[in-house]
């Protein structure tokens, strides 16, 4: 069994998770990454996606996050999410609203740079929707 380390998932409203975990999968801005104990110090922004937490006891929990960043040091990992909910509590209407907003942003973008950014965000959101809402 792998060594446990301290993981914290924090949203502006509250502290969601603070526990000893075995591994965490983070949707990093430049690709997913799995964090385990003694990871090299990394700081990364995250894209909308699913965070999978594997507890020291072996059980798994999944959370949906909408952007934020992660601060990883050998001793532990802190994930500051702009907004985070457990997958089972995801509000479809809220997700649909975010996608709608992203679409509007993409349509309103004035220059190419902001448009590509908005479109990228939109595609991340739709991927996320497909991943967590199978039915």
């Amino acid at each position: 069994m792998a060594e446990a380390f301290k993981f914290e998932l924090v949203s502006p409203e509250r502290l969601l998770v603070s526990a000893e975990v075995e591994s965490v999968v983070i949707p990093g801005a430049e690709g997913e990454m799995t964090v385990m104990a003694h990871h090299a110090p990394v700081m990364t922004t995250i894209k909308p996606g699913v965070v999978t937490v594997k507890n020291a006891s072996g059980s798994e929990e999944r959370y949906v996050v909408f952007g934020g960043f992660a601060d990883i040091v050998p001793a532990g990992c802190t994930l500051l999410a702009e907004s985070a909910v457990a997958v089972k509590d995801v509000d479809r209407a809220d997700l649909a609203r975010r996608i709608q907003e992203a679409k509007e942003d993409a349509a309103d973008a004035k220059d190419d740079q902001s448009r590509s950014k908005a479109e990228q965000f939109l595609s991340q959101l739709t991927t996320l929707e497909g991943a967590i809402l199978p039915a």
Binding site: E8, V10, S11, P12, E13, R14, L15, G28, A29, E30, A40, P41, V42, M43, T44, T45, G68, F69, D71, V73, P74, A75, T78, L80, E82, S83
Partner: protein
């Protein structure tokens, strides 16, 4: 001299008022507890944000690639004041305290020949500042419909501020709110959010010696430009939560005072009422006795 009936009516109406203020005090107490919990729940995020920001600022080293939101425009001609107050009154000096603090600041700025713009969050601050500085208020954020303050509300305000900054509408942004100390003490505070004054407030965690060898994904500058706007939203969120707790605390003590005052008034009115009633009875008795004697 008011008649007995008048006195009875007064006592009844003061009693009704006392019931209302008592109920408001209890509601405020319950809400205060919730607001305090919300403020406490938000603390870990802003604390970690502070330490992460300090780390990354160190890495970027305030060089040329630091975003303008952090370094400022290099001028301080136009000041933007975000004044956060409550939506409702009946909370003692809470709103006027914040407004007075903001007004002093505005006077100082105007005396120095600076230009001032104001964004009012909350109705009460708007009502007070409108009297003197109506022309400077560029925006008014209404949170009246909001039941529980969410990060979304703060984010919307932050977006407006950042949008204005990108348009070059102002150089320095200061946030006014009331810091929650205890139920009886709220301290009106001014906090500069643009350019960010983070270096002084948050010390980097150097205890684990890890801050120097961080890997960044993507580049530090890019992360920073993502982080700074978020940090502004977090600061505003924290201010709103502190305000919410402070408002409820102030309301609680104001209503407690009002209830006590009403009690005193009822006592005084009851004494007057009883005296007068006794006087009337005595008078009637004298009339009867002297009438009987006359026979």
């Amino acid at each position: 001299m008011p008649s007995l009936k008048d006195l009875r009516n007064r006592i009844a109406s003061v009693k009704a008022t006392q019931k209302i203020t008592k109920a408001m005090q209890m509601v405020a107490a319950a809400k205060l507890r919730r607001a305090q919990e919300a403020a406490e729940a938000a603390r870990p995020y802003s604390e970690r944000m502070g330490s992460v920001l300090a780390n990354i600022t160190q890495a970027v080293g305030g060089g040329g690639d630091a975003p303008a939101l952090m370094t400022g425009t290099g001028k301080d001609d136009v000041h933007l004041l975000v004044v956060c107050t409550a939506e409702r009154g009946l909370c003692g000096g809470f709103n006027s305290q914040i407004a007075r603090h903001a007004r002093d600041h505005i006077r100082r700025l105007l005396a120095d020949g600076k230009q001032v713009k104001i964004i009012c969050v909350g109705k009460k601050g708007f009502d007070i500042l409108r009297r003197d500085y109506a022309s400077m208020i560029i925006e008014r954020v209404d949170l009246r419909e909001v039941k529980t303050l969410g990060f979304v509300n703060a984010d919307a305000i932050a977006r407006k501020v950042i949008h204005l900054f990108n348009e070059g509408a102002f150089d320095v942004c200061t946030l006014f709110y009331s810091q929650f100390r205890s139920v009886i003490s709220q301290i009106p505070t001014a906090q500069q959010i643009i350019p960010a004054a983070t270096a002084a407030s948050a010390q980097p965690e150097t205890a684990d010696g890890a801050s120097a060898v961080y890997e960044y994904e993507p580049e530090p500058g890019e992360i920073l430009s993502d982080l700074i706007p978020r940090n502004i939203a977090v600061q505003i969120f924290r201010a709103l939560l502190e305000n919410a707790a402070g408002e409820m605390g102030a309301k609680m003590s104001a209503m407690d005072n009002a209830t006590r005052n009403a009690g005193e008034m009822i006592n005084k009115l009851s004494i007057t009422y009883n005296r007068q009633r006794q006087a009337q009875i005595t008078k009637e008795l004298i009339e009867i006795i002297s009438g009987a004697e006359a026979l």
